[in-house]
C-alpha cells in the first residue's frame, strides 16, 4: 500500500510538470505556423488572439506578400500608452497600405538593445526595422542600409528633420544609416521653490554662477544640496564631462578619431571641476559618490537637490508623479566654463550632445520589404504621427513642422528644449565609442573611490585619465 501511495504522489508531481511541458509543446506548432505570416505577435495579445491573428495572416499570404516587423524600445514610463499608440498607428498604416502587414515587439533595456544588434549582425536575422540609440556602433557593424538620396526622398526629405539630429545619423551626410524619430536634448532641471527660498531669481548661465547659486542652496544640516553627481552610473559621467570638455575646447577623440585625447587639459579640467562639487565646493553630498543616475533622480524628486544638470525630457513623467510636481523647471545648460567670463579659444557653446532614438534597417532586408520599411518610416515621422507620439508617450517630435501651430508643443519647457536642440553637437562618430564610455566610466569610478576613502591626491585625475587614454588608444590602432 505504502508503495502505491508513493507512486500516486510521484504521479501527481510529474503530472504537474508534464502538463506544463504539454502546454509548451502544444504551443510549438502554432509558433511554427506564424513564421511565414506574422512572426511576432503583438504584445499583450492573448494566446487565442494570437492564433487567429496567425491564421488570418496565413490565409492572406497570397494577397499580402510583404510583412515588416518593428523592434522598438519599450517606453517604460508608459507601456500601456505605447501599446495603444503603436497598435492604432499600425491599423491606420495597414489601411492606407493594403499590401503591407506590420508586426512589432519591444526590447526592454539598453543592454538588450546591444545584444539585439549583435545577434542581428552575427546571424543576419531579426526585425525589419530596429529602434536604436547609439548609431556609431551600429554603423561600425556595416549591418545596416546606408540611405540613398532616393531613400531620403521616400521618407520626406532631410528637411523634414531637425538638422542637428542628422549629424548623428552617420559619419557624413552621404553615409547616413539612422532616421531619427524623436529628439531628446539635455538641459538643467531645477527646483523653483528652493530657488525662491534661497533668493535666486533665475537659473545660472555660467558654471561660476552655477557654483555660487549651488552654495546658496546647500544646507548640509538639512541634507539639502545645491546639486549632485553620479560617478557610479555607466553613462552619466561621460555625458556631462563631454559637454564641459567641449566648452573648454577639448574632446575625447581627435577630429578623425584616430587618437584618444582623454588625457588632454580640457578633459582633465572638466573632470576635476565635476568632482570639486563634492571635494572643494561642497555643493554636492559626499553620499553621491556611489550614486547611479536613478539615485540622483530620486534625490531631486525628494527635494534634497536643487539643480541637476544634463537631464532630458524623459524625466518629466516621473517628475510629475513626485513631490516636486509643481516646482520643477528646465533651463539651458550653462556654457561658460568655471572661472571664465566668456568661452575660451576653441571652446564651443555646447548645451547638449545630439541625443535621441533612430530607426535603422538591416542589410538583410531587401526589395519590396525594404520599400515597405521606408513607407512605414515615412508614415511614422510625418506630422500627425509625430504629434500622436508626443501626446501618447511624451517624446519630442523630430519633425520640425510638428511644432508649428500646435498648442501642446508650445509650452515654455518645450520651447526651451527646442532651443537647446539648436545647440546640440555630435559626439565623436567612432565605432569604438563603447570603449570610450567604459574607460571613462572606469576613471570616474576610480576617482570617486579615492575621494570616498580619502586617498585622493592631486594628479590622480590626470593619471587615471592617462591610463584610460592608453586603453582606448590601443583599441583605435
Amino acid at each position: 500500500m505504502r508503495k502505491h501511495a508513493k507512486r500516486a504522489l510521484l504521479g501527481a508531481a510529474m503530472g504537474l510538470g508534464s502538463s506544463f511541458a504539454l502546454v509548451a509543446c502544444t504551443t510549438m506548432p502554432q509558433g511554427v505556423n506564424t513564421s511565414n505570416g506574422s512572426a511576432e505577435v503583438k504584445p499583450g495579445g492573448t494566446s487565442t488572439a494570437s492564433a487567429t491573428h496567425a491564421n488570418t495572416a496565413h490565409e492572406n499570404a497570397s494577397i499580402s506578400p510583404v510583412t515588416i516587423s518593428l523592434s522598438l524600445g519599450l517606453i517604460t514610463s508608459n507601456p500601456q500608452g505605447q501599446k495603444k499608440m503603436v497598435n492604432d498607428m499600425i491599423a491606420k498604416f495597414e489601411k492606407q497600405n493594403p499590401g503591407i502587414k506590420v508586426t512589432w515587439s519591444t526590447w526592454d533595456s539598453a543592454s538588450q538593445e546591444d545584444t539585439d544588434i549583435e545577434t542581428m549582425t552575427a546571424t543576419g536575422q531579426g526585425p525589419t526595422i530596429m529602434d536604436v540609440g547609439p548609431i556609431p556602433t551600429a554603423y561600425a557593424t556595416h549591418g545596416f542600409h546606408v540611405l540613398s538620396a532616393a531613400d531620403w526622398k521616400a521618407i520626406g526629405g532631410k528637411s523634414r528633420y531637425f538638422a542637428k539630429q542628422l549629424t548623428m545619423s552617420g559619419p557624413s551626410a552621404s553615409q547616413e544609416i539612422g532616421i531619427p524619430w524623436e529628439i531628446n536634448p539635455f538641459a538643467l532641471v531645477y527646483n523653483k521653490k528652493m530657488f525662491q527660498e534661497a533668493g535666486i531669481k533665475s537659473p545660472p548661465t555660467t558654471w561660476t554662477q552655477f557654483v555660487k547659486d549651488a552654495q546658496k542652496l546647500t544646507k548640509p544640516s538639512k541634507d539639502q544640496w545645491g546639486t549632485g553627481i553620479d560617478p557610479a552610473d555607466s553613462i552619466d559621467p561621460w555625458h556631462i564631462n563631454w559637454v564641459m570638455a567641449k566648452q573648454l575646447g577639448g574632446d575625447f577623440l581627435n577630429s578623425n578619431y584616430t587618437k584618444a585625447t582623454l588625457n588632454s587639459k580640457p578633459v582633465q579640467t572638466a573632470l576635476s571641476f565635476w568632482f570639486d562639487w563634492v571635494n572643494k565646493f561642497k555643493i554636492a553630498s559626499p553620499n553621491d559618490l556611489d550614486y547611479k543616475s536613478t539615485d540622483l533622480v530620486s534625490a531631486f524628486q525628494n527635494q534634497k537637490i536643487a539643480m541637476l544638470p544634463m537631464q532630458s525630457y524623459a524625466f518629466v513623467p516621473s517628475l510629475n508623479a513626485s513631490a516636486v510636481k509643481n516646482d520643477w523647471a528646465y533651463a539651458p545648460m550653462p556654457t561658460i566654463p568655471y572661472g571664465m567670463s566668456k568661452l575660451p579659444k576653441g571652446g564651443t557653446p555646447v548645451q547638449t550632445f545630439t541625443s535621441g532614438d533612430f530607426l535603422v534597417i538591416p542589410t538583410y532586408v531587401q526589395g519590396a520589404q525594404y520599400q515597405a520599411a521606408l513607407k512605414w518610416i515615412n508614415f511614422f515621422t510625418s506630422v500627425p504621427q509625430q504629434r500622436e507620439i508626443f501626446n501618447s508617450i511624451g517624446y519630442l517630435p523630430v519633425n520640425v513642422d510638428a511644432y508649428k501651430n500646435y498648442k501642446p508643443l508650445e509650452t515654455p519647457t518645450i520651447s526651451m528644449l527646442e532651443q537647446a536642440e539648436n545647440h546640440a553637437y555630435p559626439y565623436p562618430f567612432s565605432g569604438n565609442w563603447g570603449n570610450v564610455e567604459v574607460a571613462f566610466g572606469g576613471a570616474a569610478n576610480q576617482i570617486a573611490d579615492e575621494i570616498a576613502t580619502k586617498t585622493y591626491k592631486n594628479g590622480d585625475i590626470a593619471s587615471a585619465l592617462n591610463a584610460a587614454n592608453e586603453q582606448i588608444q590601443n583599441t583605435l590602432q
Partner: protein, 325 residues
C-alpha cells in the same frame, strides 16, 4: 499495470535498436541501458559542446564590431587574444587573471559562509517541533526572490549614509556613516553579504533532503547501543550527508563563480576593481566594447584554471565513485 507492459516492450526494442552489438550478446537485465544516456549526450553536444567549440574558435579570431557581420571570415590572430587577456584585459585594464582572482575569492568566501549556516539551519529543522512548518517556509524566503531583485534591495540597503545598513551601524557605533559599501574596497564584502543572504538556502535544502533520507532505524539502533546524540551525529548523520554536502559545496562554489547578475545590478558597469568578477569582465569586453575574441579567450583561460581544482576536488571526495558495479 497493462500500460507498464507496453512500456517495457518499447524499452527493449529501443535498447536493441540503439545499443551496440556488444551489448546484444549480454541478454540479461544487467546490460547497460545506453538509451537512458542518449538524451543527455545529445543535448550536451547540441547546447554545450557545439557552442563551446564556437567560443574556442572565436577566441582565436579578431571578432569585433567590424568583423561580426562576416564572423566566419574574421582574421585569424592565433593566441593574440590570450596574450591580451593576460596582459591588458578589458577596456578598464582588468586582466583575466585579476578577475579570476576576484571571482575565486568571492565564490570561496561566500561558500565558506553559507555552508555552516545552511547545515545548521537544516539540523535545526530536521526533527519535528511545533511550528516547524512555518520555520521551514521562512528559511526558503530568500531563495524565492530572483537574484537581481536581491541585488536591488541590497543596493538600497548599502547606499552610503542614507542606506539602512550605514544608519544601523552608525547608531550601534560600529562603523562610520560613510563606509561606502558600493565603491572601492568594501564592494567585495557588500557583494559577499548580499549573495550569502540570497543563496544559503541552497545548502540548507540539499542537506535537509539528505538528512531526511536517513532512516530513523539507524538512530534507533544507535540509541539502543547506548550512543548519545553527539556520537550518533558523528557516526550516522555526518557519513550520510557527506557526499551530498561535498557536492553542494562544489556546486555552490561554481555557481557563485558564475554570478553575473548580482554585481551587474549592484554596482553597474564599470564596477570597482574589487568587484570586477570574471563574468562581468567578459560581459563588458564582449557586449559593451564588442571585443568578442578577447572575451572568449578570457573565458577559456578561466575554464583551464578552474578545471584542475574542480577535478582534484571530485577525486578527493570520491563523488560519483560510489555504488557502481
Amino acid at each position: 499495470m497493462r500500460g507498464e507492459g507496453v512500456q517495457v516492450d518499447f524499452a527493449e526494442t529501443t535498447a536493441t535498436s540503439t545499443g551496440a552489438k556488444a551489448s546484444r550478446k549480454r541478454r540479461s537485465a544487467n546490460r547497460m541501458p545506453m538509451w537512458m544516456l542518449f538524451p543527455t549526450l545529445f543535448l550536451l553536444l547540441l547546447i554545450i559542446v557545439v557552442p563551446f567549440l564556437i567560443a574556442v574558435y572565436t577566441s582565436l579570431i579578431d571578432l569585433n564590431q567590424y568583423t561580426l557581420i562576416h564572423w566566419v571570415r574574421a582574421p585569424f590572430v592565433g593566441l593574440g587574444n590570450f596574450i591580451d587577456a593576460l596582459k591588458q584585459g578589458s577596456a578598464l585594464g582588468a586582466s583575466a587573471l585579476r578577475s579570476v582572482w576576484v571571482s575565486v575569492s568571492f565564490s570561496l568566501v561566500t561558500t565558506a559562509i553559507i555552508t555552516p549556516v545552511g547545515v545548521m539551519a537544516a539540523l535545526m529543522v530536521n526533527k519535528p517541533f511545533r511550528g516547524r512548518k512555518w520555520i521551514r517556509a521562512l528559511f526558503l524566503l530568500p531563495y524565492v526572490l530572483p537574484v537581481f531583485v536581491i541585488a536591488l534591495v541590497w543596493r538600497l540597503l548599502f547606499l552610503n549614509g542614507t542606506g539602512l545598513i550605514d544608519q544601523v551601524l552608525s547608531w550601534l557605533h560600529i562603523a562610520n556613516k560613510s563606509t561606502y559599501w558600493l565603491i572601492g574596497p568594501h564592494t567585495f564584502w557588500a557583494m559577499v553579504i548580499a549573495d550569502a543572504w540570497g543563496s544559503w538556502p541552497f545548502i540548507y535544502l540539499m542537506v535537509l533532503a539528505a538528512l531526511q533520507s536517513i532512516s530513523t532505524d539507524q538512530y534507533e539502533s544507535a540509541y539502543m547501543d547506548g550512543a548519545g546524540p553527539v556520537r550518533s551525529f558523528f557516526s550516522i548523520t555526518v557519513p550520510n550527508i557527506r557526499s551530498i554536502l561535498g557536492l553542494a559545496v562544489l556546486l555552490s562554489t561554481l555557481n557563485h563563480f558564475n554570478n553575473f547578475t548580482l554585481p551587474f545590478i549592484m554596482f553597474g558597469t564599470p564596477p570597482s576593481p574589487q568587484a570586477d568578477v570574471l563574468p562581468l569582465n567578459v560581459y563588458i569586453t564582449s557586449f559593451q566594447t564588442f571585443n568578442f575574441g578577447l572575451g572568449a579567450a578570457m573565458s577559456i583561460i578561466t575554464l583551464i584554471i578552474m578545471m584542475i581544482p574542480a577535478i582534484f576536488y571530485i577525486r578527493m571526495l570520491k563523488i560519483g565513485e560510489g555504488a557502481t558495479r
